[in-house]
């Protein structure tokens, strides 16, 4: 190898040390490859669509966008699935504080010890959470971690305490919540939420606060709090502002968690046996094969350990997303979405939006005209001069 070649082949160790340290084809990547191959084999062979010209693409997109804008303007905003405001308190007969899912025992309920006050939010499997006890048309059973359980009747109101069901220790539940609040002072709200994170030994993942041109404020915050603090934090968040939307949901990862643990144990045992075999290998080929297998197994173990760690973190810390707004001063907050129901109200609203939309369109056209006016004037001046010169030249010789 020449000196020239030696200088640049130093790239390899440099790249291996930095760019590619620990990066190689893992069993997981191989599995992804297998999946892609299966997908490719299953997919019918089809001719690639003929590439469209940019203006064709833009034309289509513009038409769709315009149609969407007009439709929205005329029909108003698309319907939003709204939760009906329901009282969150349940009678003292039930001793639970948490959430559940329909048709199945609730998971991971956390009731402050010794508390007789509670709030129940029942999570419908197929939809948004149903606050309180007025879940329609379904029987719900909530199993508590305390001394009793609660059953919700089909008549939406009856609440019955049922014999205690001991919560299984070691359940692994991931808790999540989303809140949309309207606050009177966004800066204070942000401070209170950050304080909440600090006092509950949680942390703020992401926070932003923006002031609008009209003096309104909008903020968002993602909190990760120890799961044991979840209920207290929810209560505090509700106090910070008027709740406009609320969603709580849970995920039982117990099976996945213990399955991962078991698989790690099995793989570690397998790795140990491979190492024993490698130590006894008599040929280079055997040793090489076993070493490769050991490496693959190690990579798999580390990948599973990573997943387990992530899962543990998700269980230990619940995630709460909060969006909050402060209306512009002197501006009436928009009416609650529950108001103005009915056909006439919808028609009025749609008509009003159309008027607003046409008004905005008119304004945009005027602004556009103002923007091009100087160019039009310049074009007109040059045009007139040109026209005058042309006429003079035409009439000149004959004069």
């Amino acid at each position: 190898m020449t000196e020239r070649k030696r200088a640049l082949t130093d790239l390899r160790p440099a790249a291996q040390e930095t760019l590619f340290a620990g990066w190689r084809v893992t069993p997981e990547l191989k599995a992804k490859l297998r999946a892609r191959i299966s997908q490719a084999e299953a997919a019918p062979t089809r001719k690639a669509p003929k590439a469209r010209k940019p203006w064709q693409r833009w034309g289509g997109a513009t038409a769709v966008a315009a149609a969407a804008v007009v439709t929205l303007a005329i029909l108003g905003q698309p319907p939003v699935v709204k939760e009906e405001a329901r009282p969150a308190e349940v009678s003292a007969a039930a001793v639970t504080d948490g959430y559940g899912r329909s048709g199945a025992p609730a998971e991971g309920l956390m009731k402050p010890p010794g508390s007789a006050e509670y709030t129940v939010t029942v999570m419908d499997e197929a939809g948004p959470p149903l606050s309180g006890v007025e879940a329609k048309g379904k029987a719900f059973q909530v199993v508590t971690t305390g001394a009793s359980a609660v059953e919700f009747d089909n008549d939406d109101t009856a609440v019955t305490a049922v014999p205690a069901v001991e919560a299984q220790p070691g359940r692994k539940i991931v808790l999540n919540a989303e809140y949309q609040l309207q606050v009177t002072d966004a800066v204070t709200a942000m401070q209170r939420l950050q304080t909440l994170a600090a006092t509950t030994a949680g942390y703020v993942v992401d926070a932003a606060l923006n002031k609008g041109h009209d003096g309104s404020w909008a903020g968002r915050l993602t909190l990760r709090l120890p799961s044991g603090q979840y209920n207290g934090a929810i209560a505090e968040i509700r106090r910070i502002g008027e709740v406009q939307q609320e969603r709580q949901w849970s995920q039982d990862v117990t099976e996945r968690y213990y399955d991962l643990e078991a698989r790690i144990r099995i793989q570690e045992e397998y790795e140990r046996k491979l190492q024993e075999l490698a130590a006894k290998a008599t040929t280079f080929d055997d040793w090489m094969k076993l070493t490769r297998q050991i490496n693959d197994t190690r990579a798999l173990i580390e990948q599973m350990q990573g997943s387990l760690k992530l899962l543990s973190n998700q269980v230990e810390y619940s995630t709460i997303n909060i969006l909050f707004t402060q209306p512009a001063p002197g501006k009436e907050p928009p009416p609650p979405p529950d108001e103005d129901k009915g056909l006439w109200a919808s028609m009025t609203r749609a008509f009003q939006r159309s008027i607003d939309w046409f008004g905005a369109l008119g304004q945009s056209l005027l602004v556009g005209a103002a923007a091009v006016a100087p160019f039009l004037v310049a074009v007109a001046v040059f045009g007139l001069i040109g026209l005058a010169l042309w006429r003079r030249r035409r009439t000149g010789p004959s004069a």
Binding site: A7, L11, A14, A15, T18, W23, R24, V25, R36, A40
Partner: protein, 188 residues
């Protein structure tokens, strides 16, 4: 491994599963790294890796053995990387790293000086500068020096003439010299 993979004799083309396994073991890491050198993104590189070996698997029966398996796989990888680089999103990224050096004419007498600069450069800095080269120079440098292909193999993988490969290598080294000199790595 390359000794057995260079021809198709050791590769059981009838057993696609086994052949794929062998090829992934032999070239998987290299293809990942090659794709990274083009795209500078691990996720994209892993995506290219999957595309390459999916294509290899599906087209294994069309491989005629006119070139080595290695060259064939590299050619697929290079083509896919080129396609990806031509995509709009990648162009936007690459605009940020537009090469600003003009073509530098290189006289034969300058070659020794170039090698001296390259030899003295810190390895990591050299790698960084190679990554900053325009793609047409970066690819020849990587295939020639990093993958240790000869110019004929590089030409086959890139579908270029051997002369073009040599000329690009020549210019790539000149650019590296200029970049390293600007960065204060020249030892006069």
């Amino acid at each position: 491994m390359e000794a057995t993979m260079a021809g198709t004799a050791a590769l059981d083309l009838a057993d696609r599963e086994r052949a794929l396994e062998q090829l992934v073991d032999a070239y998987g890491d290299s293809i990942l790294q090659l794709a990274y050198f083009y795209l500078k993104d691990r996720d994209l590189a892993e995506d290219i890796f999957q595309d390459v070996f999916t294509r290899v698997y599906l087209q294994l029966h069309t491989f005629r053995g006119e070139s080595s398996v290695k060259t064939w796989i590299y050619r697929i990888a290079v083509n896919l990387c080129h396609d990806r680089l031509r995509s709009w999103n990648m162009r936007r990224v690459l605009l940020l790293g537009q090469d600003f050096l003009s073509n530098i004419p290189l006289l034969p007498t300058e070659v020794d000086a170039v090698e001296q600069v390259l030899a003295n450069a810190d390895r990591q800095q050299l790698l960084q500068k190679v990554m900053e080269l325009p793609v047409e120079y970066r690819e020849v440098v990587l295939l020639y020096y990093y993958e240790e292909m000869d110019t004929r193999e590089v030409a086959e993988a890139l579908r270029l003439s051997v002369g073009t490969v040599r000329s690009r290598l020549h210019r790539a080294r000149a650019r590296l010299k200029a970049m390293l000199t600007e960065g204060g790595y020249a030892h006069d």
